[in-house]
């Protein structure tokens, strides 16, 4: 099968959706003439022009609110946040208008937008640029959230997100943009991965490692080490979509291995892994042979220092060490 980078897969998803639906518009800071701060949208402006690929000023509350308003009338904006960390300056638009307008109008309005961009730590850019808000946004009913780990998932999920008639907040990762993976050829058909479907990235029998986003890549690396050096067979379940959430897949892997490690780049208080942990204890308590454990980002604002930031985040070493305390 052909391969693409994660970045190219996202671009291909947008390109295909721009072709499929004339109401799809790409908006954001530097997405057009600059070709994207992270080159995700490279070439799209040259191909699609000013109407479909729109450079906005640095004005997140303004352009995201504008996209929400336009979506109520039938336009389908796909808006790039250069960093998801910048959500805070557009928070009212993201959680009051996008998440609640359908509800407060008794279902008369809908808001088919996608807001996408990187949400990760690990690039030594300090606390303001390293927020990981998928758990926070998933806590707002009315919103959908996903966080793909591979190029194929990035493409398939972004296409589903653009076609979805609800607001979808799509969390990427700057450290994954260059990763290469197999992605089905468009000539072989329309490749869409539905929201709400988790994926077993590695089969195992001794412990389930449940993760999303870049933590999946770490979990897979840790699973290799655990197998090679400790004879431990770890299953890796990639949530892919946070809300809707594939609860059935979570419970199935717990029933298979009876031990669970959750890996989550968020901070420990609240967040995705806290919710998953709650669901497991409520619905699969009798399946557990031990307490659910977590590897999260160490509980402090993101440290800048390139010498140490990697240790604040989940990484294969921390995952292996934690698993060895459990099995």
């Amino acid at each position: 099968m052909r391969t693409l980078t994660y970045r190219e897969a996202l671009r291909e998803a947008m390109d295909e959706e721009l072709a499929r639906d004339e109401n799809v518009v790409i908006m954001g800071e530097e997405v057009a003439q600059y070709n994207g701060a992270y080159k995700v949208t490279e070439g799209l402006w040259a191909k699609w022009g000013d109407k479909r690929i729109v450079d906005t000023p640095i004005s997140e509350a303004g352009f995201i609110g504008m996209g929400i308003g336009a979506s109520m009338l039938g336009v389908r904006p796909v808006m790039e946040l250069m960093f998801w960390s910048f959500h805070s300056v557009a928070f009212d638009q993201l959680v009051n208008n996008a998440a609640c307008v359908r509800y407060m109008s008794g279902g008369l309005c809908s808001c088919p937008i996608v807001v996408r961009g990187p949400a990760n730590g690990g690039t030594n850019v300090g606390a303001t640029h390293s927020h990981i808000p998928e758990g926070m946004f998933a806590a707002f009913p009315g919103l959908k959230v996903c966080a793909p780990a591979t190029p194929a998932d990035a493409k398939g999920l972004l296409k589903a997100a653009i076609r979805d008639n609800d607001p979808v907040y799509f969390m990427e990762n700057t450290l994954l943009y260059g990763n290469v993976g197999e992605v089905p050829d468009p000539a072989d058909g329309d490749f869409v991965i539905p929201l709400g479907k988790a994926d077993i990235k590695r089969e195992g029998k001794d412990i389930s490692i449940i993760a999303h986003g870049r933590s999946v890549i770490h979990a897979l690396a840790a699973a290799e080490t655990l197998q090679a050096e400790h004879g431990i067979s770890a299953e890796v379940l990639d949530l892919r979509s946070i809300r809707p959430l594939d609860v059935d897949a979570i419970l199935a892997t717990v029933a298979k291995t009876h031990r669970v490690l959750l890996v989550d780049e968020s901070k420990p208080f609240g967040g995705v892994s806290a919710m998953v942990s709650h669901l497991i204890q409520e619905h699969a308590f009798d399946e557990l042979d031990g307490p659910i454990k977590r590897v999260c980002t160490i509980d402090a604002p993101a440290i800048y220092s390139p010498h140490i930031e990697n240790e604040q985040l989940p990484n294969p070493k921390r995952i292996v060490e934690k698993v060895l305390t459990m099995v």
Binding site: Q93, Y103, P112, K144, P244
Partner: protein, 353 residues
């Protein structure tokens, strides 16, 4: 009293007698509706939450929305009852919404601040000060994108002009040439703080438009002819040239910021309120005009008043007799996909216990 010349402007000259009576009737309906709402708000157990009354400002919503055509849209903040009724919504669905009933325009999920009627080009009803200003921009962006010749009237209060989202919207409106008309309904007070204590400006609030290279004007809101004449110019600029405008319409509210505003007689003098009621009330001013023009007489005035009161009273009966939402209703209208039971909605859990 403003210059009589506004009555002579072509957009007002084109008003038929019937249409003039209709505009007057709409203003009276809005006032009677809100007076009846207030009376019911004060009875225990009928309505919850806030009640932001528009009484004193009726010429603004009625005058501006009287100019709206098929592709003209509008959106406002939480003082939204007048825009809803002037957009063509019924008193029944509005009153029932305030009573929190299933038959309310938002099924009892929005309340007084969140009326909606997209089928009538009315997009709410928004609770956060200035939060609607980027949405109005977006609706206008959508009109232009979809190739429809129209504009979006986007209302805000004088207290909203200091919010960042409004300034971001102005910049984008001018930069992208968006057919939006921002209408500052200046009633002089952002909640309990007067304009002079809340805003720094040169000349007037609308003049801030100059910093964004946007056209602006100031309007005497007590004269519906002036409201229509100046708003028409702004709407045509938006529709034909894709250029935004800021209009600042001077008006006044008789009641507090909301009915819960206990200090509304403390931050303003009784003389100030009385002066407005006596000399600038938009309904009184228009009524005198129409009597002088021979359009209205005492009999017609009384019959309009009586019908409006009866319609408002009937809407209370309708609201009272309507069913409340059920516990099951709490979980609908959250996601389009689950409401429509699409394939996508069947994959994964959308809701959590």
């Amino acid at each position: 009293m403003s210059d009589l010349n506004f009555a002579a402007s072509p957009i007002n000259q084109s008003l038929t007698i019937e249409r003039k009576i209709e505009l007057y009737t709409q203003m009276v309906r809005i006032r009677r509706f809100e007076q009846v709402a207030l009376a019911n708000y004060q009875k225990p157990g009928r309505m919850g939450g806030f009640l932001h009354l528009y009484i004193g400002q009726e010429s603004v919503a009625v005058g501006t929305l009287s100019l709206a055509g098929e592709h003209d849209h509008n959106i406002t903040a939480y003082r939204c009852h007048a825009h809803a009724l002037a957009s063509g919504m019924s008193m029944n669905e509005c009153m029932a919404e305030m009573f929190g009933k299933q038959t309310g325009c938002s099924k009892g999920k929005g309340g007084s601040m969140h009326f909606f009627a997209p089928d009538k080009n009315f997009w709410g009803g928004h609770g956060i000060v200035a939060g609607q200003t980027p949405l109005g921009l977006g609706l206008a962006y959508g009109l232009k994108y979809l190739g429809r010749e129209g504009c979006c009237l986007t209302y805000l209060g004088d207290g909203a002009v200091n919010q960042g989202s409004f300034h971001e919207s102005l910049n984008l409106a001018a930069l992208f040439e968006i057919p939006v008309v921002y209408i500052i309904e200046n009633n002089g007070y952002s909640m309990g703080t007067s304009q002079k204590r809340s805003s720094s400006y040169t000349g007037c609030l609308a003049q801030r438009a100059e910093g964004y290279a946007i056209e602006w004007d100031v309007v005497d809101g007590s004269d519906i002819y002036e409201v229509r004449a100046k708003t028409h110019i702004a709407m045509e600029r938006a529709r034909k040239e894709h250029k935004p405008t800021i209009l600042e319409i001077d008006t006044y509210r008789y009641y507090g910021h909301s009915v819960a505003d206990a200090n509304f007689k403390k931050y303003r003098t009784p003389e100030e309120i009385e002066n407005y009621k006596k000399n600038h009330d938009p309904i009184h001013v228009f009524r005198s005009r129409l009597v002088a023009e021979g359009v209205l007489n005492d009999e017609l005035i009384e019959s309009i008043n009586k019908s409006a009161k009866e319609e408002a009273d009937a809407s209370v009966v309708f609201a009272e007799e309507s069913p409340a939402p059920t516990i099951a209703d709490i979980s609908t209208d959250v996601y389009w996909e689950t409401d429509n039971q699409t394939e996508a909605s069947k994959i994964g859990h959308h809701f959590f216990a």
